[in-house]
C-alpha cells in the first residue's frame, strides 16, 4: 500500500511516533535484520535539541490504566552528536526485505526561535534528512504555555523557520490546547507542509507508597500515551483534517490495523505507531500488513 507524502515515496502509510523507536539501539538488541526489515516506512528521530540533554531523573515511566505516562525529558545527544554519530548510522535503513528505502525525518525542538532556526538550518544542509518535524510541545518562555497550544505563537514560530529550509516541514501539534484545529490552521498558514498529532496528553501519577500525594515521576508530570488516548486522538485528527488542506499524520493509541484504518478514514494520510512498539518491536510492520 505505497503512499506519497510531501514528495516522499513510502512503502506503506505507517511511520513511528517520534521518541518511540531507537533504530540504533534496536540494531544492538536484534541485529542487522533491523536495517533490512525496518518496521516503518519512514523513521522519525527522537527530538533533537541544540545542546545535549541527559533527560529527567528516574522514575520516567508509569503504567497507567490502558496506557503509559512518560517523562523522559527529551534525552538526546544534541545536534552535533546526532549529525556526527547517528545520521551516518541511520542512512541506509530499508524495509520489504531490503528492497525499499526508508526516508529519515528529523524531529527538532528549540526553546527559543534562534535555537530552532539553528537546528533547521543545520538539518537543511544534510541530504540524508528527507523532512523535518517541529516539536512545539515546549513552554513559551513568556507565557508559560506550550508554543503549539496557541495559534498565534505557533504561527510566528513556523513562519520563522519556514524560509530556512526547502525540505518538507511537518508540525507536530500538541493536544494540550483548547483548539487544535485552529493551531493546525495557523501552522498551515505559516507554511507547514503537514501536521502530525496527537502528542502525549499532560498527565500525572502518584507514588504507590510513602507520603500521600507524592508524584511518582522524577519530573512530577508527564505525558499519557497508549490505548487510553485513542478516542481523543481520533477526535483531534478528525477536527484537524476537516480544517486544513495539508496532509495529516494521525497517531495515538494505535495497536492494530483497525485503529490505523480509523485514523485514515477520518482524513489522515499517514499513521504513526508509538507506544505499541514497546509491546511488540515490529508493531509498525504488523499494522501496515493489515492495511494492505
Amino acid at each position: 500500500m505505497s503512499v506519497s507524502f510531501c514528495g516522499l515515496e513510502l512503502a506503506h502509510p505507517v511511520i513511528n511516533g517520534s521518541g518511540t523507536f531507537d533504530a540504533v539501539a534496536a540494531e544492538r538488541a536484534f541485529g542487522p535484520v533491523v536495517r533490512e526489515e525496518f518496521p516503518f516506512a519512514a523513521y522519525v528521530s527522537k527530538t533533537i535539541t541544540l545542546e545535549p540533554r541527559a533527560g529527567n531523573p528516574p522514575p520516567r515511566l508509569w503504567e497507567a490504566a490502558g496506557g503509559l505516562v512518560n517523562s523522559i525529558g527529551l534525552a538526546n545527544k544534541g545536534l552535533d552528536g546526532y549529525l556526527r554519530e547517528d545520521l551516518p548510522a541511520l542512512s541506509g535503513l530499508r524495509t520489504r526485505g531490503g528492497t525499499v528505502a526508508v526516508p529519515l525525518i528529523t524531529n527538532v525542538m528549540g526553546s527559543t526561535a534562534a535555537e530552532l532556526v539553528a537546528l533547521v538550518e543545520a538539518c537543511d544542509e544534510r541530504q540524508e534528512i528527507a523532512a523535518l518535524e517541529l516539536n512545539v510541545s515546549c513552554p513559551n518562555v513568556k507565557t508559560g504555555l506550550d508554543i503549539g497550544a496557541d495559534p498565534d505563537s505557533l504561527r510566528a514560530v513556523v513562519a520563522e523557520v519556514r524560509p530556512r529550509t526547502g525540505k518538507p516541514l511537518i508540525v507536530k501539534l500538541t493536544p494540550n490546547t483548547a483548539d487544535v484545529a485552529s493551531c493546525a490552521q495557523a501552522a498551515q498558514e505559516a507554511g507547514a507542509d503537514a501536521v502530525s498529532l496527537i502528542n502525549t496528553l499532560r498527565a500525572m501519577a502518584l507514588a504507590p507508597a510513602g507520603p500521600p500525594g507524592r508524584p511518582w515521576l522524577g519530573a512530577r508530570t508527564g505525558g499519557l500515551s497508549g490505548p487510553a488516548i485513542r478516542a481523543i486522538a481520533l477526535a483531534q485528527v478528525a477536527a484537524v483534517a476537516e480544517r486544513v488542506a495539508i496532509p495529516v499524520v494521525g497517531m495515538g493509541g494505535v495497536q492494530s490495523s483497525r485503529h490505523a484504518r480509523d485514523l485514515l478514514d477520518v482524513g489522515a494520510t499517514l499513521v504513526a505507531v508509538g507506544t505499541e512498539s514497546f509491546r511488540d518491536p515490529v508493531a509498525g510492520a504488523r499494522v501496515a500488513a493489515g492495511l494492505a
Partner: protein, 260 residues
C-alpha cells in the same frame, strides 16, 4: 541476540520454589548468563488491578536447559500475578533474549557470586556457564520461604534477614568476610535489590575488587526504544539498563538508588 519480533512460546511448566515460582518455557533460542526477556501471558494480559498489566515484564533468564528457558517469579504486582498463574499448555509472549550479559572473570580471578532475593536468577545460569566448583556462591533472602530460591544454585553459603537459614544478616556481610579472606583474586558478580547492589558496589570499590552488577529497572520495551529504564552513570548522564546493561561494571555507575 533475540529474534526481531515477539514470539508466542509454550509454557512447559510452573514449579513451586517456596515463595517463588519457576516458569519453564519451551524455547529454542539460547540466552547468555545475565540476559533477560520481556514476558507477557498470551491470554488475559490486562484487566487486572487498574486494568494492568499492559506492558510485558522483564525477567533475567535463570536457566537454559533441555530446550527450555527458566524464569524466577514472585507475585508482587498485576504482571507477576498473572504470570504466576500460567500452567503447562498455556502460552507466553516473549521478546528476547535481550541485553548485555556477564563477561568471564578477568585473568587469574575466581568468580564470586552474590545474590539477593529474586536476583538469584541470573547467577544460576552464570554458575552453569562457569562450571561445577568454579564459583564461590553467596545468597541472601528475607526468610526461609524465600531461601528456597537457593535451590537454583549449588553449594551456596546462605544469609537470611530473619536468621531462619544460615547467617542472620545480609549477604553483603558474607561478601565482606570473603573479600577479607585468603581466597586469592576474585571478581564479584551480583544481582539483587538496589540497596544490596549499592552495598556490593561500594564494598568492591573500597576493596579494589572488580565487580559486574546486573541491574533491574522499570521498563516498557526492553530494547532501547522508550528511554525509561535509565540508571545514572559515573561522569554524569544516564545509561539504559536494557541495552547498555543490564550488566554493568561497578566502576561505570554512580550510587545505585531505589525508587520507592
Amino acid at each position: 541476540m533475540g529474534p526481531f519480533h515477539r514470539r508466542r512460546l509454550p509454557v512447559a511448566g510452573m514449579d513451586e520454589l517456596g515463595a517463588y515460582r519457576v516458569l519453564r518455557v519451551r524455547d529454542d533460542v539460547e540466552a547468555a548468563a545475565g540476559q533477560f526477556a520481556m514476558l507477557a501471558a498470551a491470554e488475559r494480559w490486562g484487566g487486572g488491578e487498574d486494568e494492568r498489566p499492559l506492558f510485558a515484564r522483564a525477567f533475567s533468564v535463570a536457566r537454559q536447559a533441555g530446550g527450555e528457558s527458566h524464569y524466577l517469579l514472585e507475585d508482587v504486582g498485576p504482571g507477576t500475578k498473572r504470570l504466576c498463574e500460567l500452567r503447562a499448555g498455556e502460552a507466553v509472549d516473549v521478546v528476547g533474549p535481550l541485553g548485555r550479559g556477564f563477561r568471564p572473570p578477568g585473568e587469574g580471578r575466581r568468580a564470586l557470586l552474590a545474590g539477593g532475593g529474586v536476583g538469584t536468577a541470573p547467577l544460576a545460569i552464570l554458575q552453569d556457564e562457569l562450571g561445577a566448583g568454579a564459583a564461590i556462591v553467596l545468597l541472601g533472602f528475607r526468610d526461609a520461604a524465600h531461601a528456597c530460591g537457593a535451590e537454583l544454585l549449588r553449594d551456596a553459603r546462605m544469609a537470611t534477614d530473619d536468621g531462619s537459614v544460615g547467617h542472620h544478616g545480609l549477604v553483603t556481610d558474607l561478601l565482606a568476610e570473603e573479600l577479607s579472606g585468603e581466597r586469592g583474586p576474585v571478581e564479584v558478580y551480583a544481582c539483587g535489590p538496589p540497596p544490596m547492589l549499592e552495598a556490593v558496589r561500594s564494598l568492591c570499590e573500597q576493596r579494589k575488587v572488580p565487580c559486574q552488577l546486573a541491574l533491574e529497572a522499570g521498563m516498557a520495551c526492553g530494547f532501547g526504544a522508550c528511554f525509561g529504564c535509565v540508571v545514572p552513570c559515573r561522569g554524569g548522564g544516564y545509561l539504559r539498563v536494557c541495552v547498555d546493561g543490564p550488566v554493568f561494571d561497578g566502576e561505570a555507575l554512580e550510587r545505585i538508588e531505589e525508587h520507592a
